[in-house]
Subunit: 150 residues, 2 copies
């Protein structure tokens, strides 16, 4: 069944994962999009602020997107997103991390400009197996309302 | 020469590009990270709010990261970023777009917790060949100060 605006009341939506992240995919993403030494070069990474090889923050965001897709967006009447309100990278993504993603609905309101839709604001927090939060992201999505509503 | 904090006064930093984006790379990114129909399926995309196949917003952000790397971050004493303050997706990324990226420094301040560094806040705006802004992003980076400064 397709999820609509009415299925996103404020509160915990769910916890999704685990998603295993390999060193190879971390290096491949970094080589394409973010070839900074701390994401590509083991020795330079050890000397960096992050004290070891770390994944690109954009890779982590993209993985969180995929975890949300697999968790619920793939079966949601979602029409897209106008952007992201905030991203915080708190703990480095490391090779072989197993990520879990907690998603909360922080706000759900009807759209004024598109009355057949609502704006659902999601807060996603990705944790590693040790429970550390790697990334927090706050992002609105536009979701269709149920057909035949009163 | 490596760019340091002192090389990032507020104002226009530069305009970078062009970066050509192919349909194939758009589809490949979407298949891996954001397989929503408007990013993968030509027919579904035509019926969507975005009225045609569009790239994932996360792909666009990742391309902007790479344009910043090639433009200046690759030769900057950058120590990473704590996150992103805001992302606005304003116009869809389309197959064969040629992107230019305008980068402004909106704020540059010394770090209190790490006196050898400063926080440079960047505003990036990606435009297509028609001049439309596809994405605006505001993001701080941590940059080392010049050695031997007074």
């Amino acid at each position: 069944m397709t999820l609509t605006f009415e299925d996103f009341p404020p509160g915990r939506l769910g916890t999704f994962g685990p998603r295993h992240v390999t060193r190879e995919e971390m290096l491949a993403f970094a080589a394409e999009f973010d070839p900074q030494p701390m994401h590509l070069d083991e020795e330079a990474a050890k000397a960096s602020m992050l004290q070891g090889l770390s994944g690109s923050g954009w890779h982590l965001c993209s993985i969180m997107m995929r975890m949300m897709f697999d968790g619920f967006i793939g079966r949601t009447a979602s029409m897209g997103s106008p952007g992201v309100n905030e991203v915080r990278w708190l703990t480095p993504l490391r090779p072989d991390d197993n990520l879990m993603l907690e998603v909360d609905v922080t706000e759900a309101r009807l759209s004024k400009s598109r009355p057949e839709t609502g704006i659902v604001t999601l807060k996603g927090a990705a944790r590693n197996a040790g429970g550390e939060v790697l990334c927090e992201m706050i992002s609105p999505i536009i979701v269709r309302r149920r057909e035949g509503r009163a």
